[in-house]
Amino acid sequence: MPETSRKSRLSRNRTRSAWLFLAPMLVTLFIVAAWPLGRTIWFSFTDASLDLMADAKWVGIRNYLEYVDWGDGEGQYYGLLADARWWRSVWNTVRFAVISVAFETLFGLVIALVLNQQFRGRGLVRAAVLVPWAIPTIVSAKMWAWMMHDQFGILNDMFLRLGLISHPVAWTASPDTAMIAVLIVDIWKTTPFMALLILAGLQMVPQDIYEAARLDGVPAWRTFRKVTLPLIMPAILVAIVFRALDALRIFDIAYVLTPNTDATRTMSVYARENLFDYDQFAYGSAASTLLFLVIALITITFILATRMDLEGRNT
């Protein structure tokens, strides 16, 4: 009896100190994550404007969906859920995220495999590959904007000289190529990040497995498919989730590189436009809230679909 009571006191003590140590983190998380998120959601149900935030009044779901009867039996739906521009931005964002993450994963994998080999100057190449990732996005977007300029841009100049195009292409201006331009810059910038994460996964693969495969005379391609890929899959999936979370919030490249049109407007650009440019703080908050939900939904679906092992049960 006395022993168990002492033990439980010990465990109580431990629990208490665990909470004590966790407290600063929890408080910080509440202040920087939960509180702003909660406030944004609250504003999305009000009529707040940026100048008069204190006077915000509850208006229900009007910012999301509202049926306005014009008095003659006819009417129309208004609100975010009925806004074609919003759904266009959602589509732009999702399409951007899928394409960019797919290419970044593929290129990242290739680069990681190369960097995992022993060769002279490997340290230098590893550092050099990271350069695009190290440049602030706003700087790389501006840099690419000049490279893609239809009159003075180096890209058109090179392609013209090589005979790939017959007349200068307005990469960022034309609605057909604007999204491609954003994709090019994002893939250029973020592939190193993917390569780095996948390289970390590759270095965890024990060398003796490769040795065994080599002794058994397994061809290189099959070794990769049957040994390397399954072993680094968890690392790749985690990298994809990180990147997808980032890609779904894409703002800076689209905003700086291209004109502010339906062709490249993303969810974040849409929310910002309403929050600050227009006098529609509440409506912008509703867009931010939906943005949060869309990202959460996509991420959860992805984690479930790939049966990702988040709790480390199989390791």
């Binding site: 940026l50 009159q151 201006a173 502010n260 049109t261 600050f276 227009y278 006098d279």
Partner: protein
């Protein structure tokens, strides 16, 4: 501010209190285009030498739309970081509540200013900003090329289209493959609203929103004007014009690669500058119009100085605003940046006329310039403008014709207005 700095300024303040002058650290924010930054710094240096104040410049991106977003953020947060804002002519109705009323502080000089400029900055009897310089765009053209091909200066948009096409093709045939006919501001931002309302209004298509708040933009004249503009893309104008702002257009024209350009007054001083390849071969005229029974339209632009209500140095800030807008400084700016001044007298200054013939020539254009509907649409102006430039940009990029997009715009504007603006 650090404690030490507080202490120091407190001591300095106490010492100066006796003499009545308090040295302040002021901050002024502006979006610099062309030589604005250079000339502002020079004038601020003089201000610092004459008073004991110091002034820091915060410089913003070229796009007025980007500037507005940041200003709104600072002002809504009641930030005291910025004392003096350089405000676009259209912002006064939207931002009035954040600025002090300058009326009592400029009562002695207000009558010297261009009346239309003062009026544009007065909201419910409150003078939000003191006009710094005006803007009324011009058609820049290559006088040498028009002469070479025996073409007159175009008076209508149709003439411009035809002349641009002819000269462009002829020049390209001679080996100048980078030659284009016409460049303007076609990116989806406030600048496109200015360009497009000129096309529409000069074709008899009215205004985006009429002065009394009524909406009649969905009319055949407006559609005709925008459709004509859409026909320029990829023919006389490079396709990239869909992402051009002021400086992109100037870049093309000034490197000698366009016959015509629509741009604001600041471009004149730069295109005529020592290092400009086109300095001796270009000239300016009023923008074209639609034809019989219509008149040229020039959007009223301009930038004006307001003192933030949240400034901790309002006295010094007012002093600065008055200083930057005095005769000498306006004259200097007119000569260096070719921006039309806001003091009537500067237009008659012989020195300005001698060095910048553009300025006196442009007085009638400035006086008759076409304002954007910011007074009629109040806090919704930005949304109205964005809806308008979106409809135009769509037409220019070939997503539907003008009639279609204007019908959508009409419905959008009516929804935005609701029962009243």
């Amino acid at each position: 501010m650090t404690t030490l700095k507080y202490l120091m300024s407190g001591i300095a303040g106490a010492a100066l209190m006796a003499t009545g002058a308090l040295a302040a650290d002021l901050t002024i924010v502006h979006g610099s285009v062309g030589r604005d930054q250079e000339i502002l710094r020079k004038q601020l240096d003089q201000f610092e030498a004459e008073t004991d104040h110091t002034v820091t410049i915060v410089s913003m991106p070229e796009s007025t739309t980007d500037q507005f977003g940041q200003y709104r953020l600072w002002l809504s947060a009641q930030s005291s970081d910025i004392d003096v804002y350089r405000l676009d002519v259209i912002w006064a109705p939207q931002l009035a509540s954040h600025f002090i009323d300058l009326t009592p502080h400029v009562a002695d000089i207000v009558d010297d200013f261009v009346p239309a400029a003062i009026e544009s900055q007065t909201v419910d009897g409150k003078l939000v900003a003191l006009p710094m310089f005006l803007g009324a765009p011009a058609l820049y053209y290559r006088a040498d090329l028009l002469e070479k091909y025996g073409k007159p200066v175009p008076e209508t948009w149709a003439e411009l289209t035809e002349t641009a096409q002819k000269i462009m093709e002829a020049e390209r045939a001679e080996g100048n493959s980078d030659m284009y006919g016409f460049v303007f501001q076609g990116a989806a931002y406030e600048g496109l609203t200015c360009n497009a309302q000129e096309w529409v209004n000069s074709n008899g298509g009215g205004r985006i929103v009429e002065i009394d708040g009524s909406i009649d933009i969905n009319n055949p004249k407006a559609a005709e004007a925008i459709d004509l503009a859409a026909s320029w893309i990829g023919t006389i104008a490079p396709e990239g014009v869909l992402n051009y702002k002021e400086e992109d257009a100037r870049g093309v024209f000034q490197s000698g690669n366009s016959v015509f350009m629509r741009n604001w007054n600041y471009a004149y001083a730069l295109a005529a500058g020592e290092d400009s390849p086109v300095k001796d071969v270009f000239a300016v005229t009023t923008l074209p119009h639609g034809g019989e029974g219509t008149a040229s339209a020039a959007t009223l632009g301009g930038w004006h100085l307001g003192v933030s209500k949240y400034s901790e140095n309002q006295e010094a800030a007012i002093e600065l605003v008055r200083f930057l807008n005095n005769y000498e400084n306006q004259k200097e700016r007119a000569i260096v940046t070719s921006r039309p001044p806001t003091l009537n007298a500067v237009y008659e200054d012989p020195e300005v006329a001698a060095q910048q013939e553009f300025i006196p020539l442009w007085k009638p254009v400035v006086d008759n310039a076409l304002p954007r509907p910011s007074a009629a649409t109040l806090r919704k102006y930005n949304e109205v403008s964005a809806a308008f430039w979106t409809a135009v940009h769509k037409t220019l990029s070939g997503e539907g014709d003008a009639a279609e997009n204007l019908a959508t715009l009409d419905a959008e504007l009516k929804r935005l207005r609701g029962p009243r603006w």
